[in-house]
């Protein structure tokens, strides 16, 4: 009796968690103008709309431009910082770390207001550079978390071994540290890109009409006049993030294996 209750509860919550995601997908292929079930007939109409209508197409392009920019910026800066904070040579490292992770915690709207005021002053409001910078601020924490974890997984004696075998510090970094940290860097970059792709609030504050991203376009489309293009965009985003997520999971799995293989007992 109790067991049956438990199972029912579990199934109900799994449905609650997953149903929305799966419910929206088929609507990408509806032939109707309404986002409703039952679907009268299937068609590629809205996918076509998504890839040809000007607002949608430019928003996809913008998302890719801004996402790549923010990813590169955040990955470079975040990786450097993780390397610098690694050995504990700096005083107050934990304070620095907290500072770098803070953008995850500060409400997006608060940061948005500040960014808007600040970028207007700099003359960067409504520019690609401004939006890219704003996104990078949100992406950096993800890169730092990911790269720091990867660096932490490197056994220091491996680097010592390289050094004792005649490798000067730069070579140790290039031949040993970097190759072992790369999976963390890549998955940090993936996190960064996914974050930028999904970012709406900051974009709302700092982007002009020319920098509308896909997420921002979805936001206004839901708000003003929702139609199945939103479902098509959602499908695109889900496929995109699932691919990225799968890639990150694969990397994490490989990293875990390579961490295992440095342990001597693993035969």
């Amino acid at each position: 009796m109790f067991r049956a209750l438990q199972i029912t509860f579990g199934i109900a919550i799994v449905i609650f968690l997953l149903m929305p995601i799966f419910a929206i997908l088929p609507l990408a292929f509806t032939s109707s103008v309404f986002l409703n079930y039952p679907i009268p007939a299937y068609s590629m109409r809205w996918m076509h709309e998504l890839t040809t209508a000007d607002v949608w197409r430019t928003s996809i392009v913008n998302s890719l431009i801004i996402g790549s920019g923010a990813t590169v910026l955040a990955t470079v800066l975040g990786t450097l910082a993780s390397l610098g904070m690694r050995k504990g040579a700096l005083p107050m490292v934990s304070l620095l770390r907290t500072l770098f992770l803070l953008p995850m915690v500060v409400p997006a709207v608060v940061l948005g207001v500040g960014m808007q005021i600040f970028l207007v002053r700099l003359g960067l409001a409504s520019t690609y550079l401004g939006v890219t910078i704003a996104h990078s601020v949100l992406c950096i924490p993800f890169v730092i978390v990911s790269v720091s974890a990867a660096l932490q997984g490197i056994d220091p004696s491996i680097e010592r071994a390289a050094s004792s075998l005649g490798a000067p510090p730069v070579t140790v970094f290039r031949r040993v540290t970097l190759p072992l940290a790369i999976p963390g860097v890549v998955s940090g970059a993936i996190f960064a890109f996914a974050t930028s792709l999904d970012e709406v609030v900051l974009t709302l504050f700092v982007a002009g009409p020319n920098q509308r991203t896909l997420a921002r376009q979805m936001f206004s489309s839901i708000r003003e006049n929702i139609n199945p293009t939103v479902a098509a965009a959602a499908l695109l985003l889900i496929i995109g993030t699932l691919c990225l997520g799968g890639l990150a999971a694969l990397l994490r799995w490989r990293q875990k294996r390579s961490a295992l293989m440095t342990a001597p007992s693993a035969i």
Binding site: I158, R160, A161, S163, S164, L165, P168, T262, S265
Partner: protein
């Protein structure tokens, strides 16, 4: 002429804690020296100072007559084998072994040939394309050793290299390392806290306690005539006897052991009548029998007898004086409570300085 490796009053402190204290240590070329000591006695720290990963707070380290303590690790030409092997997980076995040669800018063709030869030496040539994760513990160990040997360093440093292996494999590797040492004439500094490993492998053993050398000697001297109480207790098993020196003549000390017993011991320098001193007597040097043999014979009672397969440990008492003896088997009808005579030579009872 300086010894090949020399520590000259080297101290190392981490913050306010002194881990190595005014260490003097000399190692000759081709020697196999073990650093033996309990956990935290500073063995790894000494090895890391020699390899260049730690800098002495005070003192100097010389290699082949040249002072090296200011040199970074990559300029010291020492092969280091780490406890967890520290193989590069992203490189194949061959790439791992080739790494030190590449660092020395050895020509490509020669690298291939030397890697081949080195892997052949440890009989692992067939594994050269594998990743370290695809090797067994013993194979990883051998690759780590090969990698440290291949660039013909002047010294090999090993920090508990066999600690992670099971007993059988460990004994096998001990022989293999010992054999390589002999064949290639290597100078090896070997850290361990396993006393039997140190005893079987080394030319000399340095026993450490709290950052100081208690005794440095060849294995047999260390075992037979430990100089300090710490060494006597740390290596093997021993009977520690507190005794009063009744008289000393002609290098023989007459001891009164208490409970009316007396014995003779080999007297070291500076032992004088009337003084109390500690002595070490190894259990296996005690012979048990019905009648006295030799110059020392104590009447004892068997308090307990423990079977160990290849030997027996016998607990002996006489009032409040007690000894442990080790013998192959008990002869006759000795049972617990029976009386026996424990005999030993004066030269097996050695005086300890503290």
């Amino acid at each position: 002429m300086r010894p090949f490796i020399q520590f000259e009053s080297v101290s190392k402190a981490f913050g306010s804690v002194t881990v190595v204290n005014a260490l003097d240590l000399a190692i000759e070329k081709g020697e196999f020296v073990s650093l033996l000591g309990p956990s935290g006695s500073g063995k790894t720290t000494i090895l890391m100072m020699l390899a260049g990963f730690e800098r002495p707070t005070q003192g100097a380290i010389y290699l082949d007559g040249k002072r090296i303590d200011h040199l970074p690790p990559y300029r010291r030409q020492m092969g280091v084998v780490f406890q967890n092997y520290a193989l590069f997980p992203h490189m194949s076995v061959a790439e791992n072994v080739a790494f030190p040669l590449e660092m020395q800018r050895v020509p490509r063709a020669e690298i291939a040939e030397r890697v081949e030869r080195a892997l052949d030496m440890v009989k692992l040539k067939h594994l050269k394309d594998r990743r370290p994760s695809q090797l067994s513990g013993g194979q990883q160990q051998r690759i780590a050793l090969t990698r440290a040997l291949v660039f013909e360093p002047s010294v090999i440093l090993m920090d508990e290299p066999l600690g992670a292996l099971d007993k059988q494999l460990r004994e096998h590797m001990q022989l293999e390392i010992r054999e390589l040492h002999k064949r290639l004439g290597l100078t090896i500094v070997f850290v361990t806290h396993d006393q039997s490993e140190a005893l079987t492998m080394s030319d000399r053993i340095a026993v450490f306690n709290a950052g100081r050398i208690e005794q440095i000697d060849d294995p047999q001297v260390i075992y037979d005539t430990p100089r300090t109480r710490f060494v006597a207790e740390f290596i093997g098993e021993t009977n520690l006897i507190e005794a009063k020196v009744a008289s000393v003549d002609n290098h023989v000390a007459h001891l009164s052991l208490g409970a009316g017993l007396s014995a003779r011991a080999h007297a070291g320098n500076g032992l004088s009548a009337g003084q109390t001193a500690s002595f070490s007597l190894r259990p296996e040097r005690i012979r048990l029998g019905a009648a006295p043999e030799g110059s020392n014979a104590l009447d004892m009672t068997i308090a307990d007898c423990i079977y160990h397969g290849d030997h027996m440990r016998v607990q002996l008492t006489h009032d409040d004086f007690s000894l442990v003896a080790r013998c192959e088997r008990l002869a006759g009808n000795w049972t617990i409570g029976a009386s026996v005579v424990a005999s030993f030579d004066p030269s097996d009872c050695t005086v300890l300085t503290q």
